[in-house]
Symmetry: C2
Subunit: 522 residues, 2 copies
């Protein structure tokens, strides 16, 4: 029991260096008090065990909510029970969850949502007319004029029209509502299109190229689908830029053991925060065309660009402007979400996917597959509608909306700069500029004695570092090994979402911890 | 083009008798005007085609939103354009979508949801105190006190506690919040647990037993996962009862080519509407125990029981009362949803799964898998909270709540009886009592000339019948072949959700159509 508790404390188990799965489970099996395991009373073997379960699911890892976050939960419980720690609260900088960090919802969005939810409020004088107008329009497009009806599997028609109009305004290139699929967050869209794309066995298994570092949804879904993960490395020395030479290397090597068919791009980058140049995007599109790759563009941070010399360019726009050879041929799916940007409405699980040059037969297959799950949450679809169709100049709510939006974005920009500056003052930490998104992914130099100590604990060195950081400072960040990184380099991902004063505290704590850590393992 | 349009009109294509997939797609390829196919301009092959796509996804079928529903959409468009038909509206009796059919939301539920959505309303005197109390409690359990934050992957803690308390009250047997997983509708829970359960290849592929007729989510998910679908037939002559002898036959035969590991039960039945007796449930549990099967109990219609001599018994309760040999050993997952019952909140995609006797290691795997998709929609979780924690006697909203609830349920009971009675007056239609759920699944006698005519059109005979019914009367129902039925028998599924007067019209139209159909193909 003591040993098991110690294992839980370290966040990993001695049997295996894998950061999840068996680790969690063996801790559970050995530490009944912590994880509420019932006493052994089975007279027969269970049917569903680690040995009998789907091995693809077993292989899935998802670091953003992994063992470090379970540990954070345990520490919070201990604090609640009055157990003394060197800190009074856990600061969860592990996940891009803006409102959990105190960001206020955009008033207009919540007003429209409340009106849609409880239409009696349409008679209330305390709601602005422009919000009522949006709500009426959404409700009229819903079965029985209710958010409680299923929508079409592809999403409510008028919301898809609004998304198409938004993309048209953004890109100056027409978008077709028929190409828009509303989804349960962007994760759902990414999963769905990958499900359709992955096929084959042996050497003809589908290879899917993903950036390293990546957002671990990708590796998790590929594992579940039995696809081959083909890594291409972003260039840390060059501000995490995507280098087409590296794409060529990766695809060449992949062809020896699989059929590379898909190229995933995350722009602005997660966890790396770079914003791709237009030139880079053109190069990537040319590469995809030459190599016959289906492009997935994860653009959920498109509103989160902070560097003055960076601009977001959508793959759709660049593709459309490269001439018919590309614009009529390259297959592209791009993704957006209500969870990020300045709205930060993660809980509603709103998202959309736009597809370009998809074969009409495949569109039929896509609708069929989506229909099995009936429809995305209609409240999330409504949130998406407000995101793509916000108040415009002249409307009653416009000024308040603009004020709120700019406050969130300027605040994030300030915190991006603050984080970069402070990290770069710490010896042994090096942080690329946070051009966009909402994370820092600093590189940390770990002394060889620290690496040895981690190995002795059967933990990845950066997991060892992050666990100690959590236990000693209450700051919860995710080790770089959960996102992937070049062999022998170590990082962590930290969100910049805490309010400025709290973020300063976090950065100071990380700084102090890091210096002490270097001393301890010098 | 004319030929293609005719194919679309028939809802199927000449090349294949499969009701979806290739059917839809070849219609699309041949009928550009209808489905907006772009002119051929590709200088190279597309990457993602019917040939290259995931074959498991291609094999998926989902009749409830299949070709007949696409056809219904086309007819609606034609009516809007003023094209004359023998009817003025399409009545969508294909799907259990209560609010789309005019059922009003439960006021209390929408009040709490509006308060959670826009907490400024907590100061408004026009909302009752008990609704405010519920909303405050939910918000306090959300990150940043907002529905816009991610919840824990397993769901908001206090909502899982409320679900457990609800199950405890329902069954008189304690439920543990740790065993509750909130989901994106019941479909999500069913998909997730099946994902974990399915493994193996060749003769050790996982076999999953499902009732025939079934709800086609099951066949779709099994196809996607590459599991073996093991059919057991419900006894139509005995009011669609589940017969354990038939389970034995099915498992015995299945063992010759796969590893049967899971038994799915739908109670009350969808599409068949039977309510299982306690004795039957005990027999099923004994059978699962003997045959080492993991039980899945789809109980989303538990509040929809109409026959005076039927009662809903949960698998959990029966299992708990069968003594420790069963209650401590049989692995069970049961499912519930906000979409059915008397709330009918389909659009919010709220659901839960309760697991019993799940191995602690598997619980860890389940949370890991769920965490990849971050969390179920928090608004759907809130809707679930109100469903399991409605107003109680003494609370301000209790009387209105009770009135609304009883109105919905007594109305459904009336319509169940009406439907059964009217169908049984039609020569060539035979309908079992609608003991529960919200569908009739009448058997229809089709003359051999009609079967031949269907074959000439390469359509399943009941698809041919339902297409004609839709085209001639505007009534949209789903052919029995989409749910499965004994060879040579034909059925359709129709919801009883239209308002009473409209339902009477529907039934009369079906009756007239059927008599005319019999005459036409006599």
């Amino acid at each position: 029991m003591q040993r098991a508790a110690a294992l839980v404390r370290r966040g990993c188990c001695p049997r295996t260096p894998r950061p999840w799965g068996r680790c969690l489970s063996s801790a559970a099996a050995e530490a009944p008090a912590v994880l509420q395991v019932r006493p052994e009373r089975s007279r027969r073997e269970r049917i569903l065990t680690l040995e009998s379960m789907n091995p693809r699911v077993k292989a899935v890892e998802y670091a953003v909510r992994g063992p470090i976050v379970l540990k954070a939960g345990e520490i919070e419980l201990e604090l609640q029970k009055g157990i003394k720690k060197p800190f009074t609260e856990v600061i969860r900088a592990n996940i891009g969850d803006a409102q959990a960090m105190g960001q206020q919802p955009i008033t207009f969005l919540r007003q429209v949502m409340a009106l849609c939810t409880y239409p009696n409020l349409l008679d209330s004088p305390s709601f602005p007319e422009d919000a009522k107008k949006r709500a009426r329009r959404i409700l009229q497009a819903c079965g029985g004029n209710s958010l409680g009806s299923y929508s079409a599997s592809q999403g409510v028609n008028c919301i898809r029209e609004d998304v198409a109009a938004y993309i048209t305004r953004r890109d100056g290139v027409p978008a077709d509502p028929d190409n828009i699929y509303l989804t349960t967050g962007a994760s759902d869209g990414i999963t769905t299109i990958l499900k359709i794309l992955v096929s084959g066995g042996g050497k003809s298994r589908t290879g899917v190229m993903i950036p390293i570092p990546q957002y671990p949804l990708y590796s998790a879904v590929l594992s579940e689908l039995g696809a081959v993960q083909v890594n291409y490395y972003l260039d840390e020395d060059n501000c995490w830029a995507l280098n087409v030479q590296e794409l060529r290397r990766a695809v060449r090597e992949a062809k020896e053991h699989c059929d590379p068919k898909v190229l995933c791009i995350i722009n602005p980058g997660n966890p790396t925060g770079q914003v791709q140049s237009r030139k880079c995007i053109e190069d990537v599109i040319r590469f995809a065309w030459e190599e016959k790759l289906f492009l997935l563009a994860d653009e959920v941070y498109q509103d989160n660009v902070y560097s003055a010399d960076c601009r977001f360019h959508s793959f759709k726009k660049v593709l459309s402007e490269m001439g018919p050879e590309f614009s009529s041929n390259v297959e592209l799916a791009s993704f957006h979400s209500t969870s990020k940007g300045y709205m930060g409405e993660c809980g509603y699980r709103g998202g959309y996917m736009e597809v370009i040059n998809l074969h009409p037969e495949i569109k039929g297959q896509l609708v069929k597959l989506l229909s099995v799950r009936l429809c995305p949450p209609v409240s999330g679809q409504a949130a998406m509608d407000i995101m793509v169709n916000p108040p415009v100049p002249g409307e009653e709510s416009f000024e308040q909306f603009l004020r709120e939006k700019e406050s969130v974005l300027s605040n994030l920009a300030e915190k991006a700069k603050l984080t970069e500056d402070l990290f770069n003052q710490v010896p042994g930490i090096r942080c690329n500029p946070l051009q966009g998104a909402m994370y820092a992914f600093p590189r940390i130099v770990l002394p060889s004695r620290a690496v040895e100590a981690a190995q002795a604990h059967n933990m990845a060195p950066d997991m060892f570092y992050c666990m100690k950081l959590l236990e000693e400072t209450g700051v919860c960040v995710v080790p770089g090994s959960g996102f992937g990184q070049r062999e022998g380099t170590y990082h962590f991902r930290m969100t910049i979402l805490p309010p400025v004063e709290k973020l300063k505290t976090v950065l100071q704590r990380v700084k102090d911890f890091h210096i002490q850590f270097l001393g301890e393992f010098a």
